[in-house]
């Protein structure tokens, strides 16, 4: 059998078995072989103002528009993102700087392409002309928002009942088994 490449990759990337301990089931999107840019200024904590968090929410929510996933599956609310962002910015290693870089980038792109164009550009940049701070923004903002978008309920779009990262509920209650039997 010639396995599906992506599935095969998921298996092969696991260097070790999960015998007696848990391994991370590769929820996230970047490959471990990819060079990881340093998180900028991880010691600089701070709090984003609500308007900035709303802008980040708009960036995160663009995932559903871009991939035709209706809002009905999403539990990725502004409230959840606010908690996520606050925990990421107020505690070290802090994302305060990289979120501000993402906001500045969004503003820069909005000025040039308009708000909708800026969102599109953030998800599909021209690799030959990476925008400022793109590596860190891509790694620490875009890819994390994609992961949160899927784990926060939108995996249900694909017909599944549970997914790593989703708080599905008690699993021994026959009336509420958070997986298919």
């Amino acid at each position: 059998m010639e396995p599906d490449n992506k599935q095969q990759k998921l298996l092969e990337l696991r260097k070790h078995p999960s015998y007696g301990m848990m391994l991370n089931p590769l929820l996230t999107v970047l490959q471990p072989t990819e060079d990881m840019p340093p998180l900028p200024n991880p010691g600089t904590t701070g709090s984003l103002v609500p308007g900035d968090i709303t802008t980040l929410y708009n960036i995160a929510s663009y995932t559903g528009f871009f991939w035709d996933i209706p809002n009905s599956f999403s539990a990725f609310t502004l409230e959840e993102l606010t908690e996520f962002v606050n925990l990421k910015t107020q505690i070290q290693p802090s994302y305060f700087t990289v979120y501000n870089q993402a906001l500045s980038l969004y503003q820069l792109l909005s000025n040039e392409f308009g708000p909708q164009g800026a969102l599109s550009f953030l998800y599909t940049p021209n690799p030959l002309y990476p925008p400022p701070n793109w590596d860190a923004v891509r790694w620490y903002v875009i890819q994390e928002f994609l992961s949160m978008f899927i784990t926060s309920g939108n995996f249900r779009f694909y017909g599944w009942v549970n997914y790593p990262g989703w708080m599905g509920g008690p699993y021994n209650d026959p009336s509420h088994l958070p997986y298919r039997t």
Binding site: P3, L11, S18, W67, I91, F155, N162, G168, P174
Partner: protein
């Protein structure tokens, strides 16, 4: 900071290591009335049930976890032999030890696992039988909070029901169940230390699928007993305090330990009336070997050159198989161990290697976020979800102990000020024929259901479940500790660790470790030692 100064402190009982063994010993001592119990841990605290840490675990590119930084580094050990060990990622050095990251797998050993020598002529028998340990298995399951489903006629017979009922097997298990049924093979749930109801003051599992870091503490982890002990005035936990040697007042008497406060660089002596070594199958033999004196010129308990020998762990094998379309959208939605088969965990397989097979709970697993990031369109992702998929069957094999396989110290120290580790494993612990036999068993299952067979093989030996390096025996010519876990030739030094297990079966060993320690502590406490 004076790196050479030595201060002396006093304890009643000293426990080296804060993992599941150490905290159990502390719990039982304190419950029996012991005072001034001091635990020394080489590592630091690890935040658990921490919301930021959980967000990092589910969102960051490498599933960043708060214990990642505690793993062994490549430079922390040397390795030679038939299959050089690579222990990176295998153990956690920090408060709570390696059950911080374990999956909670808690099967019992089979009755034959206690009499390997009698049955096969290999290795050694345990000083006691399954029946002797069975009551303690029940207590261990209660202590850890094990959920399971009793199988009719199961050979690891039980006198009490599981503390909690196990979960219903998921839809994803159905193809493998069908394959097992077609061959007439047994199967069931893997018992797991995960709450199906609120238990031991911890909440019910809500299936986050992130058992490597549970956000609510619904699976047993090594920090939990320590959390409960934190307010006990008779208990002190000292972090960042690696023990560097044992201090002997006489051949049969340990009088304390020397440790380093790595936050100050100051060497300290902690005197104690009894010492329990609970720091695992690597650190304990190294510590005993390095603690030379006029009483023990080759290291404590090592007059017969057995300390550090008989190093074993379970070889772990896998075989993938799948089909070209996935109309049922099969995906591992449960993400913790569930379906297993002990078809080959039998006396008939014991001489060459028993096998406990389980279905990987990590495959099939499509990650839409990864596909999005890679630039796939909605239609392409939908096609992937219903397209080719792979399962993985896998499992551990019971190893054959060998005198020549050994752990010792290498020159230099790690960032925890622990001696670097040297693994030398010249003898194979499972033959390639045995590995092939069990891979063929898995291939047969795939063929039963028309799956195409994919890759198979053995994973690198990471040393999960390393054990037997200070093995329990009836005499000092066969082992290092007796059946109360006391080091032969001493009156007050104990090894409460995987290191003491004489042999291991195919099953994960943590439950057996806990039961063994409970049995030993019962005997110790019933003898009414002066230090309790």
């Amino acid at each position: 900071m004076n790196k050479n100064s030595t201060a002396t402190q006093e304890a009643n009982v000293i426990i080296v290591g804060s993992g599941i063994a150490g905290s159990l010993v502390a719990n039982m001592l304190l419950a029996a009335g012991a005072s001034n119990v001091v635990m020394l841990e080489a590592g630091a605290d690890i935040p658990m049930e921490d919301h930021r840490s959980w967000y990092d675990a589910i969102s960051t590119a490498h599933n960043q976890l708060p214990y990642d930084s505690t793993y062994d580094l490549q430079g922390d050990f040397t390795s030679s032999g038939v299959e050089p060990w690579n222990i990176q990622g295998g153990r956690i050095i920090g408060r709570g030890g390696s059950t911080i990251h374990w999956g909670g797998w808690t099967p019992r050993f089979m009755p034959e696992d206690f009499c390997l020598k009698t049955n096969t002529g290999l290795g050694i028998d345990w000083p006691f039988a399954y029946a002797d340990l069975e009551p303690y298995y029940c207590l261990a399951e209660q202590y850890l909070g094990v959920a399971g489903i009793t199988q009719e006629g199961q050979r690891d017979w039980r006198s009490q029901a599981y503390p909690m009922a196990g979960p219903v097997l998921p839809l994803t298990a159905q193809p493998i169940i069908s394959a097992l049924q077609q061959s007439g093979y047994i199967f069931g749930n893997m018992p797991v230390a995960r709450n199906t109801v609120t238990y031991n003051d911890k909440p019910q599992c809500i299936t986050t699928g992130t058992c490597y870091y549970c956000p609510i503490g619904a699976r047993f982890t090594g920090n939990q007993p320590l959390d409960k002990l934190a307010s006990n005035p008779n208990f002190t936990l000292m972090l960042n305090s690696p023990v560097t040697s044992l201090v002997m007042g006489a051949k049969n008497t340990v009088t304390g330990v020397q440790y380093l406060d790595t936050t100050t660089g100051q060497t300290q002596i902690m005197s104690g009336v009894a010492v329990f070594l609970c720091s695992g199958a690597f650190e304990i033999p190294k510590l005993m070997q390095l603690s030379t004196s006029a009483f023990w010129p080759d290291g404590i308990g090592n007059d017969n050159d057995l300390v550090g020998r008989y190093l074993v762990a379970n070889p772990y094998i896998y075989c993938s198989g799948g089909a070209s379309t996935n109309p049922e959208l099969l995906q591992q939605e449960l993400n913790f161990p569930n379906l297993c088969s002990r078809q080959w965990d039998t006396p008939e397989e014991q001489a060459t290697g028993k096998f406990l097979m389980n279905m990987s709970y990590e495959a099939p697993l499509v990650n839409p976020a990864a596909l999005m990031y890679e630039g796939n369109s909605a239609a392409q992702i939908a096609a992937t979800v219903t397209g080719p998929f792979l399962y993985e069957l896998q499992g551990g094999i019971s190893p054959t102990p060998s005198y020549n396989n050994r752990v010792t110290s290498a020159s230099g120290t790690t960032r925890y000020a622990l001696p670097r580790t040297a693994f030398n494993t010249p003898d194979e612990i499972v033959s390639q024929d045995t590995i092939n036999r069990h891979i063929n068993n898995m291939i047969q299952l795939y063929e039963n259901i028309g799956f195409t067979v994919g890759k198979s093989g053995a994973y690198p030996q990471r040393g999960d479940h390393a054990s037997s390096t200070c093995r329990m025996a009836t005499t000092d010519s066969d082992g290092v500790v007796d059946d109360t876990l006391k080091v032969f030739g001493t009156d007050n030094l104990y090894v409460a660790s995987n290191a003491a297990l004489p042999t291991i079966g195919a099953a994960n060993l943590t439950l057996t470790l806990v039961a063994t320690i409970m049995r030993a502590m019962d005997k110790i406490l019933n003898s009414r030692p002066s230090w309790v």
